[in-house]
């Protein structure tokens, strides 16, 4: 938006978006990404007997596994999302967030939540809920934080005039869902509901985190950034409605698919399987919408790096949901449940979809936030390829490993046959993970040189656009 085309009373970018807090959130996010990947590396080395730090309590792979997942979810993804929301919501609603002071308070409070989670887990105080290992005494603070986030962002959304864009439907719903999901998952199985019913709730929690916190924020951001970068509108408004309402209805019904063949009542398990397949149909409409949007502008995937990150992530999203609709069936589950197939699936979605999207948004926004082009376009490309190829190799290797493990177990051979047989896949995974990690190191180095104001011959980067 230049002054030549903006309306006379339109708020200025600087009044709407607090760029400093966006940068702060992104930097915090990258810090936790590093921590999480180091934890992942530790576990990966342990499994292939290459861990040089064995027998040290505070470096126990079991505890670091929980730090790995929580640092990604609450450290990297949550912080990145909050940074993106501070950019997107004021620009979409043409209203600033409720209070900048509150924004900084929330930032500080959230880092306290994440860091104390990490320290608590390190000291052996994890809570026994998958993806909810945040120690019980931190849960109230996290819930208060989520409430404040909702309040801070709902203020501009309620004040916005005119029809609401699809991104805002997703964001609004995400604020409600994230709070409810976090409360349900962290409080009910621990304090109120034991056993199998608690397991049903735990299943709902695990999937609602993915489907009702991460997914709506991620897709909301895609609906926001893709039309801006492609300079084209989303292809179909109708499909946007189908996508949002389909997700809203079917996603919450999926949760029990994490615990198939447990003593949870069978009719509920069938229901979860059917709901999961239904979500895949809904997802397909969203993918069709986005690919129809880029139809005719396909070259953008080559020239426009953020678009490449976004559309790669969307391909992986389609793949992961297609895989999900197949692997959720009881036939597949009999073989692959408990195996590395599921671990591969989780990495495909958490890194291959959402992390790629957020790294793409950072690739787009950092030049604007820092006021200069990337130091090196070549390093941006290295970042993309190391991340994507590394992730895909990890996914493919673990998926295959899962099939082998399932058959080893079913064949009633002794257990060590399955762990020994997994070694080649686990070794491959170490190198895939190292490639992904190297990609992020390249990114951080590029960011550092950009921040320092260095330019290189390769600085044919993304030109910043000032609003």
């Amino acid at each position: 938006m230049t002054s030549a085309t903006s309306l006379p009373n339109e708020p200025k970018h600087a009044d709407l978006v607090d760029e400093r807090i966006v940068i702060q959130y992104f930097l915090a996010a990258l810090f936790y990404l590093g921590i999480s990947m180091l934890g992942g590396l530790l576990m990966a080395l342990q499994l292939v007997h290459w861990n040089p730090l064995r027998g040290i309590e505070l470096l126990s792979p079991g505890r670091w596994r929980m730090i790995h997942t929580n640092a990604i979810a609450y450290g990297f993804l949550a912080n990145s999302f909050l940074g993106c929301l501070h950019w997107a919501i004021p620009r979409l609603t043409l209203r600033p967030v409720l209070s900048r002071k509150l924004s900084y308070f929330i930032f500080a409070a959230w880092q306290v939540v994440v860091l104390s989670t990490a320290v608590g887990i390190l000291l052996g105080q994890a809570q026994g809920i998958e993806w909810g290992e945040t120690p019980t005494w931190i849960d109230p603070l996290a819930l208060a934080g989520l409430l404040l986030v909702a309040v801070n962002f709902m203020a501009p959304i309620t004040r916005a005039k005119g029809p609401l864009y699809v991104t805002l439907w997703y964001f609004m719903a995400a604020f409600v869902w994230t709070f409810l999901t976090y409360a349900m998952g962290n409080l009910l199985p621990e304090y109120f509901v034991p056993g199998t019913s608690g397991g049903a709730i735990a299943g709902l929690f695990i999937h609602d985190l993915v489907g009702l916190f991460v997914t709506p924020l991620g897709w909301g951001l895609m609906y926001y950034f893709v039309p801006i970068l492609l300079k084209k509108p989303i292809w179909s408004h109708g499909l946007s409605l189908v996508g949002f309402w389909g997700l809203a209805f079917f996603y919450p019904l999926n949760g029990i698919h994490h615990f198939l063949y447990t003593p949870i009542p069978m009719f509920l398990q069938y229901g979860a399987v059917i709901a999961t397949v239904a979500v895949e149909f809904v997802v397909t409409t969203v993918i069709i919408n986005f690919f129809a949007t880029i139809w005719g502008s396909g070259r953008a995937v080559v020239t426009n790096l953020p678009i490449r990150w976004f559309y790669t992530g969307m391909v992986f999203y389609f793949l992961t949901c297609l895989q999900c609709s197949l692997q959720v069936t009881l036939t597949f589950q009999a073989l692959i449940h408990f195996t590395d197939w599921v671990v591969g699936h989780a990495h495909l979605v958490m890194f291959g979809v959402f992390s790629l999207w957020l790294l793409g948004i950072m690739t787009y926004l950092f030049p604007r936030l820092l006021g200069r082009a990337w130091y090196s376009r070549a390093l941006c490309e290295w970042h993309f390829w190391l991340s994507t190829v590394g992730l895909f190799v990890m996914f493919a290797g673990l998926t295959l490993a899962g099939i082998f493990q399932g058959y080893y177990w079913a064949s009633l051979q002794s257990w060590d046959v399955s762990t020994d047989g997994s070694q080649p896949f686990w070794i491959l995974r170490v190198f895939a993970g190292l490639a992904m990690f190297a990609g992020q190191l390249v990114f951080v180095y590029n960011l550092y040189r950009t921040w320092r104001g260095d330019s290189s011959e390769a600085a044919v980067g993304i030109e910043p656009v000032r609003a």
């Binding site: 052996g124 809570q127 998958e130 604020f175 034991p194 199998t196 447990t262 229901g271 599921v342």
Partner: protein
């Protein structure tokens, strides 16, 4: 409604979430509400007490220091601490605790899991688990001696060749013959798993495949 704030927040946000919660969480809660939930104090059974007393004989100094006499109350105390350790160390991320009716699991480990096995205070939250790097543990009690568990926790690869399980020397004062309070507790917890079954212990039936082939049926 479909594009309005109220519609999105109330119908999509609250309404559909509530519908899923009612149908997927409240329904099983209501279905199982008649099942009694056991307190920890009620959990030590004869099989577990046998193992607990065995711990007091094998590791007399440690046991006397932390638990004194092997009573039911002390056993319940050890169970609670053992479970806290099981969660805190992330054991539940590599070991599961439910046997499925597929994939020959009941031949390998024992009876398929039943809801009433999870109706106790030590399954708040439930320890179903979602990954098996190591074997399922819900029928582990009584399969192996306390000595085996002591050495295994201290350094798993020394008894389980090629095991990728991490080492837990902080459960011991130096070597496997000296478990500390945490070591005794986690061993008690593992020996509890499955000890409530009538068919306990289940180790006689399962033999890994090569042995079956060598020795015949």
């Amino acid at each position: 409604m479909f594009e309005s704030r109220a519609g999105v927040l109330l119908v999509g946000g609250l309404g559909f979430f509530a519908f899923a919660f009612l149908s997927n969480a409240v329904v099983p809660i209501l279905m199982y509400q008649h099942l009694p939930e056991k307190e920890v104090a009620e959990l030590p059974n004869a099989n577990l007490m046998y193992e607990f007393e065995d711990l007091s004989r094998r590791f007399p100094e440690s046991f006397a220091k932390h638990y004194g006499q092997p009573s039911q109350e002390k056993c319940a105390e050890a169970l609670e601490l053992g479970r806290k350790i099981y969660i805190g160390e992330g054991c539940w991320h590599c070991h599961s605790q439910f046997i499925r009716p597929v994939s020959n699991e009941s031949r390998r480990w024992g009876p398929v899991s039943h809801t009433k096995e999870y109706q106790n205070a030590l399954q708040r939250p439930v320890m179903f688990g979602t990954r098996r790097v190591g074997p399922d543990l819900c029928r582990e009690g009584g399969r192996r001696s306390n000595d085996w568990h002591a050495v295994h926790f201290h350094r798993p690869a020394s008894v389980s060749t090629g095991s990728p399980m991490p080492e837990y020397p902080w459960f011991f004062e130096g070597d496997p013959s000296k478990p500390n309070e945490r070591g005794l507790a986690i061993m008690t917890y593992v020996q509890w798993l499955g000890s409530w079954l009538e068919s306990y212990p289940y180790y006689e039936d399962y033999q890994p495949l090569p042995t079956l082939q060598e020795n015949g049926p």
